[in-house]
Amino acid sequence: MVKPAVDDDDDYIDIDDTGPEGLKGADGGYAWEEEYKRSWDVIQEDASGSIQSSVSGLSELQRKRRRRLRDTEVVQRGIMRHVTVVIDQSEAMGVRDMTPTRMHAAMGLAEQFVAEFFDQNPISQLSVVGTRDGLAEKVTELSSNPMDHVGALRNRAQRDLAGEPSLQNALELAMHGLRRAPTHGLREIICVFGSLTTCDPGDIEQTLQALRHADVRVSMVHLAAEVHVFKRICTLTGGSFAVAADADNLRDALFELIPPPPLAAGRATADMVRMGFPIKARATDVPTPCVCHHELSFSGYLCPRCGSKVCSLPTDCDVCGLSLVSAPHLARSYHHLFPEENFVELPGTSVLSEACCFACGVEWNNST
């Protein structure tokens, strides 16, 4: 839980601040003063001359470490999320430190992010905003259809990069779009930035106050370095700020934002939310129009309140505004709300009483 602190002294570096001393490592030295680590020594060749096993062992270790750190605390989380993704399309995104350019890496990962986001948060909605040349443009409206966003992102990736981004314009536009979102949902803005500068028309402090007033959480993944202004906006609104060192890092940092975040302490809770569970429309001989796309189709779902046909779930009924979901979509969120315990790694199989694995019936061999 993050309590946004109102602290006007943050702008000035004080004698109490950690300063450069906070960067020192555990032994009291800076990272560049330590002995050079030869990471290639870990990889050993096995009997047949192949290094495949030690390479896969390395990635296995990383995966194990990540799994162990999974948060199993049962906290209140925001399940109905309304997220705006802000993509930087300035010249700084054309730098080739990620292959082939930052823009390509970011767009590819943004598509994966959208797909995974809707998989983990089926009742949430997403919209995309791009910023370049000091302006911000809305790429897609808030919707729960992943195909819309992926298609729009692909089109966007073709366009040229120009000028400098404008964080203030992007945040204002995103906030304006999120105004439509109901208050019981969680409002978030996720930014993927590559530029170290921002070209704003006014005072970004006012935008920050407006964001806090509207209860919008801003998180950012930066591709270059930590910028004080960006980090300040993120921490004061209760979001997270991460810097990605390479494409894998960027993927991890972006995907950290996918599970629903714990709610801040002071939020009003336990609202009653009206939702509809539509039934499948009977297959007819004659196609009927749907209210979301005005296209003719044979099958669909009927809204329980007004009876109009929609093509796919989850969505909002265009006629009466009721949120339409199906039970599996809600059940999808349960594994965030009731997380399973972490696995306990045992030192060896000799401590076990059974001779074989309970799940698949295979006998233990004592090397595992």
Partner: protein, 238 residues
């Protein structure tokens, strides 16, 4: 997304619900049903020599791996029957018999006894599928056939849905065949719907044949399902 090819082998995991309270009430006797299931299994194995099979018996208290198991088969060799099939048949039948004989229940007619928890069996099935996928070098398409007899257990909703989503991620089809019982199992209907399998209800009182239903719908593997027309899905109560 890898598309299934006709020659790809399949893995079928059959989950047998041996809820004694439910089978006692059914117009189709358990031994007759088992004979039909065994015929179905033999037909599945005959389709492709590389087809793999796992049979799991699920009761309220235990979840046992029936085939492939290490239990000794002491029936005499029968020259009339193909040996591979005979091994499978005997292991399955003796396994179910052993499970039923271990049941000592006080109040067999209570509501609690009529419910069959399926999530444990489904998780075990998914673990087996994962293990076989790891050991296999080529691509193998897996599906689960649940022969359900009892009713839904409401307290296992979350774990059941978690297993279903895991099955969906692993592209495992879950077919449900309700062999006995009047009530539709809502959770299992959702399971079949989400993973792309079929939900079939066999009304033995009206002389519908379990074997016929299984043969016509559940024998088809991933590739064939894109070509055949599955029986219509009933209105699912979400």
């Amino acid at each position: 997304m890898v598309e299934p090819v006709e020659s790809d082998p399949s893995l079928l995991v059959v989950v047998l619900d041996v809820n004694p309270s439910a089978w006692a009430r059914s117009p189709l006797a358990l031994d007759k049903a088992l004979q039909q299931i065994v015929i179905f299994i033999n037909a599945y194995l005959a389709l492709n020599p590389e087809n793999k099979l796992v049979v799991i018996g699920a009761s309220k208290r235990k979840c046992l791996l029936l085939y492939p198991s290490d239990s000794t088969v002491d029936a005499a060799q029968d020259i009339q029957v193909y040996e591979q099939f005979r091994l499978v048949d005997v292991k399955v039948l003796s396994g179910v018999q052993a499970m039923m004989s271990q049941v000592t229940v006080d109040n067999i007619n209570s509501l609690d006894e009529r419910q069959s928890p399926m999530s444990r069996a489904l998780s075990m099935a998914l673990c087996h599928i994962h293990r076989i996928n790891e050991d296999q070098t080529g691509k193998i398409w897996s599906r689960i056939l649940v022969l359900s007899a009892g009713e839904d257990a409401p307290r296992e909703y979350i774990s059941l849905m978690n297993s279903i989503f895991a099955a969906q991620k692993m592209s495992v089809l879950v077919d449900i065949c309700k062999a006995c019982g009047q009530k539709d199992s809502v959770f299992l209907q959702q399971a079949a719907d989400i993973t792309g399998g079929n939900y079939l209800k066999v009304n033995s009182a009206a002389d519908e044949s379990l074997l016929q239903t299984l043969m016509f719908t559940c024998l088809a593997d991933h590739y064939t399902r894109s070509v055949i027309n599955a029986p219509g899905s009933a209105l699912i109560d979400f």
